[in-house]
Symmetry: C2
Subunit: 325 residues, 2 copies
């Protein structure tokens, strides 16, 4: 159904406040959820339904564990991942404003950071090239294996442009874990090449996949890339394993730099916009109406919503959200 | 045939000197070619056969176009790509030794940088996490298109470890352009999902593919990643287009940082080695003898060569190299 944007935001904020977040935390999480919701990304308000995202009652203040002029490592204090990653981005941007580069890692959170394209986009809007890497529990197998060892390990890259920023945001898994759960709930099967069951056989049964492992995207190359994200979000940011060596917290890494480190930043932004134009003007395959660059599909959805002030939300989802408010 | 390693190196060095490179340049190129050749990577001595890699007679000294404490942009002066990228890496490492981070871009080269894993590996051996991005002419199409607009756009990531460094090195193209040329020469067909002909039809004919476009790996995600490498190796490093807007030079970017920016570097290296052990110990799919981590396959080939002092080289290739020496 069509919901007024301001009503969707107010209801979401109310649910977040009722979930135990401070006004400041709730506003940060709202922004990240809306970034997803208003771009047709499935990491939106659905996160608040069912068990939802209650604040950890044992959460403590975010602490700086290590800091240099260019870097920091943050102990997230079991706060919500989006709140901690937002702090990390702010610190990285402050360092990059001063020195041209900033890198900040986080550990000791155990909740999703949502659509990390939000953070890459924010870096790009501030004029910086931003890389965001996010870890999660062991759901995904290495190439050649069917035992989960990696997170779904998304990475996002934001690039400033004289027009809209380019925002690349992808999981290195062949399917989001949430997609498997959705399929199970809906009684749908999953594609035969995205997961293994607990015996190492390809499976289309989401329940079997949840007992087995999700595969990485793009064959051995995607698996190798997933392992690199694992390195950057696990040993580099010092997540804490349990006695069996499994992750007890989820790590994140933000790396931002000023394109002005290599020359004139405005010229760079103009040329990024020019490159986008060139790419969009290339010859299209049969049946392709338009070449879309990273982030563009979501921008289109958002622009339509902002123009009308109305958001299409599934009936069930909107009712469930209102019931929680 | 089996060739003595020292003889292979001496012959290769001689061919490089005869190709117009100074002793210093020839030794740098030799190292990069041997990195590939001794790891079973196809970017080795085959590059010296046929037209080979003659030095550009109009090459001038590498110039620093822009520099900050953390960064530089180099004009490669039409020198060989490996020589220029090696200089960029040395500068980036010097800056990272002083500040923890260094980023150096290059333009004005128009030759291959070879197996860029070499540079990522060198960064890792020096104790730094290194990202290498390399551009090339327009051979690869964006997702939804069949008109070449991107290079094969490899990226490499090197990670220091208490054991062997992890070295990730991949093209974002579905097949190396060289692989298409090899197939054409050998009269072989290519896989049906790696290229389009000039009309946008999938093709298995390498000649048709060369007149059309190579595809990116991993569907739209791989295409988006290729576009990010394009941004980092084209507008960011200020390559020069011709009147039609096509690339006349190939850009490269080196980004290195000290894992010590986030905590204790030795602990990090230990934990990377621990993660590698965990990944290798995961349950294997039927028919898989061993889980290999990024760079490991090549390390195995190299170790065998170093142990025996002998390298297996195709008869034709060795004869062609000797004929040039």
């Amino acid at each position: 159904m069509q919901v007024r944007l301001d009503e969707l935001k107010a209801t979401t904020l109310k649910v977040l406040r009722l979930s135990g977040y401070s006004q400041e935390q709730a506003e940060i999480i709202l922004e990240v959820l809306m970034y997803a919701q208003l771009r047709g990304n499935n990491q939106g308000i659905v996160k608040l339904i069912g068990a939802g995202m209650p604040a950890d009652v044992n959460a403590t203040a975010i602490k700086v564990l290590h800091e240099t002029k260019l870097s920091a490592l943050l102990d997230g204090g079991r706060n919500q991942g989006m709140v901690v990653l937002n702090r990390a981005l702010e610190m990285a941007l402050a360092k990059a404003r001063e020195h041209g580069f900033g890198i900040v890692g986080t550990n000791n959170t155990n909740t999703s950071t949502g659509a990390i394209g939000y953070f890459a986009s924010k870096a790009a809007q501030a004029g910086f090239i931003g890389f965001i890497f996010s870890g999660s529990p062991e759901f995904v197998a290495m190439h050649g294996s069917y035992e989960p060892i990696f997170g779904t390990n998304p990475l996002a890259i934001g690039v400033p442009s004289a027009e809209k920023p380019l925002v690349f945001d992808m999981a290195t898994a062949a399917i989001a874990r949430f997609g498997v759960i959705e399929a199970k709930t809906a009684g749908r099967s999953i594609s035969p090449d995205v997961a293994y069951d607990g015996e190492g056989q390809p499976t289309t049964d989401p329940a079997a996949a949840l007992a087995g492992a999700i595969r990485t995207f793009g064959g051995y190359k995607g698996a190798a890339l997933s392992m690199m994200v694992e390195v950057l979000t696990r040993p580099l940011v010092q997540t804490t394993p349990n006695e069996e060596g499994r992750k007890t917290d989820w790590g994140n890494l933000v790396l931002v730099f000023d394109p002005g480190l290599l020359g004139d930043a405005d010229t760079f932004k103009q040329e990024v916009a020019g490159l986008v134009g060139k790419v969009k003007a290339t010859k299209r395959l049969p049946g392709v109406d338009e070449i879309l660059v990273p982030g563009e599909r979501g921008d289109r959805v958002l622009d339509a919503i902002l123009a009308s002030g109305m958001v299409e939300v599934e009936d069930n989802l909107w009712q469930a959200l209102q019931a929680k408010a």
